[in-house]
Amino acid sequence: MTGSAAADASAAAPVRAALDAMDSAWRATGGRERRLTLGPLSVRLRIAGDALDAALTPAIAHALSEGPADAVIYAVDAAATGMPPPPRAWPLPALGRDDLAHQHFDPETGLAMLADISRGLWRYGDLAAGRLGFLVGDAAALPDWDLAAPFRHEIDWLARAQGIQLSHSAAIGRGGRGILLTGPGGSGKSTTAAAAALSGWQIAAEDFVLIEDAETPVAHAAFDTLKLGDFGLSLSARLSGAVANPGRTPDEKARIHMRALPGVDFVPRLSIGALAVARVSGAPRTTIRPIGKGEAMRALAPSTIFLLKVGREDAFRRLVRIVGRLPTYAVDLGRDPLEAAEALQALT
């Protein structure tokens, strides 16, 4: 065995051991399995723990079915199943470490790990074997972002192998042809996407979307979640009546699942014809103007890359290609989100 192969085997052992333990925990709970289908991605979902199942599945319920798939994602609630805590020593050479997490991602070996230790969240990927796992210390303590975008890291890892990039942006459209709407927190992206959805637009995503890196990029829906602040909620009583996290903290956004909103056309895919960068202007009416691709890249890439945490250069390169394929615009949002949604029709 070469030195490199030995290192790979050494790195693989703790990941595979964790996945084996999660498989055992899942089988001990009765072994329920469903298929999760998100665009070209299809994976068997094996969740151990009723509370964890109830927490993780609402945002992906639209994509669950029965049937086979090549890859598998385990999700195990350690508190409910009695699965012992993960090893306290970090078992892989980490590529980096920030304040949130330990992280490791190696496309050559197909091994990935993300650990947010004090929250008790461990994610494992043996991508060559098509096995991934999300170990949760206590389902009751899951942060709301894991309910809004469950399995987002596991989905990201699987998507990359198929040339698909999970991106921090909204996708809205008309007649199957859409735009990516992006912007930093407070840019008005979410409220504008919600206003569009309430105005008869199709919507495939409000916060995270899978983008197929094709000549004409395709947005595939992943989560049916809207995340809105108080201003966004005030758009319609339909929104305020569908909030799924009424006990949220003051700094958390309201989480709404689109299937709970009558009349909203949540669609599985949109072909993408433009990238629009939202920003609050304070002006009475919305204006749209072309911008350079650098400015668009700065709006789209950094938040996507930091939220996904691993494989950053790979994600950056794919986003460069996607931005390069699309005309790019700034949308200076007027005061009325419904008027902004109407103005965006110029881009479809």
Binding site: R88, D98, I117, G137, P184, G294, P302, F306
Partner: protein
């Protein structure tokens, strides 16, 4: 004594040239940047180890610009790139690796680096997570006395 040389920090930084600007993201600090003016050419020459004097000379030659001004701009830009960890000292320098000088198709404009730090603030807002070295997860390490 040889001039110290510098190079793009490829370990922690991704960068791409779009028209008149270079977009740079530092994965470690959470800061991202727009490098404008002649910055794209300064950045291009940092793809291989290069010293401040040689950097200024190469860019001045490309633009046919005033060498004194461009040398000063090169030194100032290098200071900023090093402070932001976008460039790092090079371990070795080989003249054969130098990026070719080419004729610029626009007048010289001093490089300008715009800094965007809102993601850095978001990262800093999150508490540091760790486990006690002996007790392990989910026990937090004791606060230093």
């Amino acid at each position: 004594m040889d001039e110290p040389t510098y190079i793009q920090n490829r370990k922690d930084v991704s960068a791409e040239v779009f028209d008149a600007e270079v977009v740079l993201v530092n994965f470690t600090t959470g800061r991202y940047f727009a490098l404008r003016g002649a910055g794209a050419r300064f950045w291009a020459h940092l793809a291989a180890p290069i010293g401040a004097q040689a950097l200024g000379a190469a860019v001045a030659a490309e633009f046919g610009a005033d060498a004194v001004q461009v040398q000063a701009d090169a030194a100032a830009l290098l200071d900023t790139l090093l402070a932001e960890a976008l460039a790092v000292p090079a371990e070795t320098a080989d003249a054969a690796d130098a990026i070719a000088v080419r004729t610029a198709d626009a007048p010289y404009a001093p490089p300008a680096l715009d800094v965007f730090d809102e993601l850095e603030e978001l990262i800093a807002l999150d508490p540091i997570h760790d486990a006690d070295a002996d007790a392990g997860w989910p026990v937090r390490p004791a606060a230093p006395e």
